[in-house]
Symmetry: C2
Subunit: 388 residues, 2 copies
């Protein structure tokens, strides 16, 4: 019986994790849940999975949750806010923490879980992009580990178990290409926000849909891969694959390539992390390549999709570069959604910010968060803001 704490239990990763816990009774126990504002769903989860500790976003929500739980006769302990997240992330008796809250708020609890020596199954991209070096060091020093939940990174992980790193030549992450991968630069310049939030393959929130359309999502994943697999940036690349069946390609020094294929279903990578080093017998439909017919691959055009190039530039700068890339992109996407800048201005703005970033590596999460705030402040004040 593996004991879990789930950060982000009412989000997509959280729901899929709980779906697996439900399907394999006796294998997993849920000790802690942390959610944001979706009280109704959280209440149902507490009733079903009986965790010891639950956290919500605010004190007010915690009060309402308490009322709900007590009316059902449940004694579950309740906490809230950033501190609540950390409490759930570091609960005693937990073996694996599912870190799946969205955004920079996920960094601190991820770090604390590793500091406590936990296995962390990580869906929170920002953690590795902002502080991959620090998180790796923390895991190494305190006996924890970081297991990927992203389908691309899980795919790479699954392609490496028996292989020695010295024979690795290249990691390739596939990208669906987003809705615009056949558009010209002129067409891209005119893309309205409403078109960019519609993803052809996955139903996702607006931020990640726009990141997918600019391919900044893949840029962030390249940075994540660099730390998860401790591979130099020059050995990581991306390839457009509209069918989203092949999730990654791992090339070895002899020219052999191991590709990981699966139907797009987040439960597969989650199940792999939950069961590792075993595999769960999942009852979902299997991949039928004869029915799929064909798999297509296209190179990424750096003229139209400069985001990947920005990832390499950011990694070349150092920790400050990747923190700045992430922060600048968040600000730029918000401005695009607000109609203040055009689609191509998102990556242009990130490029401008990277021009001004000092080269620094960070030795604490506080320094990372501090620099993140500096970048956002600089963007609010600086000339880049005039574009709006």
């Amino acid at each position: 019986m593996k004991t879990l704490a789930i950060l982000g239990s009412t989000g997509s990763i959280g729901l899929n994790t709980l779906d697996l816990v439900r399907r394999f009774p006796g294998r997993y126990r849920v000790a802690g849940l942390a959610a944001g504002e979706n009280l109704e769903q959280l209440l149902a989860q507490v009733q079903e999975f009986r965790p010891r500790l639950v956290s919500v976003k605010s004190a007010a929500l915690a009060e309402r949750l308490e009322a709900g739980l007590r009316s059902q006769g449940m004694e579950t302990e309740i906490c809230w806010g950033a501190e609540g997240l950390v409490r759930v992330a570091t609960m005693a008796g937990v073996e694996m923490v599912i870190s799946a809250v969205v955004g920079a708020v996920g960094l601190q609890p991820t770090y604390e879980a590793l500091l406590a020596g936990r296995q962390v199954a990580l869906a929170n991209k920002e953690s590795m992009v902002m502080a991959g070096r620090l998180l790796n060091e923390t895991a190494r020093r305190h006996g924890g580990c970081i297991l990927p939940l992203d389908s691309e990174h899980s795919a790479i992980w699954q392609s490496l178990p028996g292989e020695r790193r010295e024979f690795l030549a290249r990691l390739t992450l596939t990208a669906s290409g987003g809705p615009f991968f056949r558009c010209s630069r002129e067409e891209l310049a005119a893309v309205p926000p409403a078109a960019a939030v519609k993803h052809p393959r996955w139903s996702m929130g607006p931020k990640i849909s726009i990141d997918s359309a600019t391919m900044m999502n893949k840029a962030l994943e390249i940075i994540e891969a660099r730390w998860l697999f401790q591979v130099p940036p020059v050995k990581i690349t991306a390839l457009i694959h509209p069918q989203s069946i092949v999730h990654s390609l791992v090339e070895f020094c002899d020219g052999a390539v191991l590709a990981h294929l699966a139907r797009p279903d987040m439960r597969l990578p989650i199940a792999y992390a939950l069961a590792y080093p075993e595999r769960l017998p999942l009852p979902f439909p299997v991949l039928d390549l004869a029915r799929e017919g064909k798999l297509e691959f296209f190179a990424v055009d750096p003229e139209r999709f400069p985001a990947l190039e920005l990832a390499y530039r950011a990694m070349e700068i150092g920790d400050s570069g990747t923190v700045a890339l992430n922060a600048a992109n968040e600000v730029a996407v918000a401005r695009f959604v607000a109609g203040e800048i055009g689609f191509l201005d998102i990556t242009a703005l990130v490029a401008e910010v990277l021009e001004q970033v000092p080269r620094r590596d960070f030795t604490s999460i506080a320094a990372v968060m501090d620099f993140d705030r500096q970048v956002r402040a600089m963007m609010a004040a600086g000339p880049a803001a005039d574009r709006g």
Copy 2:
């Protein structure tokens, strides 16, 4: 320095193996070579690689080889025939035997090499099809092992290193489909021998080209995979993939699939076996999926290509079934090449033979070879022969 003996040194596998030995000086030493009738090439190989022992097909060829070697001042020991093959296969001081002679003649030396506790890198399909059970037992008892050289089987092997067999759900071998995979049954019935020996992707001998056209080649490979990976027949399947880039697909119980991709080049699987568990840094062009553009997959139609079905029927019968399948196919292909029977009659004839085969497993190579002869005799005498 790994010491090799190569059976079939002037064939395609032998030449590619020696190309790799040449490219990695100091890593491999060639102690023995066995070839058939290509004296000129063999002489050049002996001059270059300086083996201690060389074998040729006949006493007459051995005499001519001796004259050639002595005129060059070389003292290499020479042997010949079936006994010569076995001598090279069991030479003292050899770590790995490359078993790459063509046909049933490869079985005895492969068996003897395993009996002597050698690693056997196996390209001789007939060995596993005729006596997979026995060869596995021999390897296990005497501390040897069997490493696949076929691109499909090497691909599966490379997809399994860190995986536990209990989580394996299915092995899929890909097939190019041969020249006729889009033909109707009517068109297949009228295929002349000259068309069947032209393969769209590989340049091969007439027997294997026809086996590829009937898909009997894939049927033999399914039987081979069953023994190499000790997986029940029901978990092995085939898929048509005309581009021959994906060599195999390994599916796990959670729905994940690991595919092995590589440019079609026999040196890759050979290098993997030579270097295992390491990988050689091969200087050949790498796979460029963006340039390939697309990979296509088609189910095998059992009406037009009944060979796969015959493989399962043969395995269901037992050792006698797979020996009979192989022998009947050889006889049928020869009759097709001679213009005595039509293209669809090849598999029909094999099916007829399987109808009459007793269920038997064999405990010696002699029994296997004896039954092989019985099947051929039965075909020469029986009603099936009247088709000619």
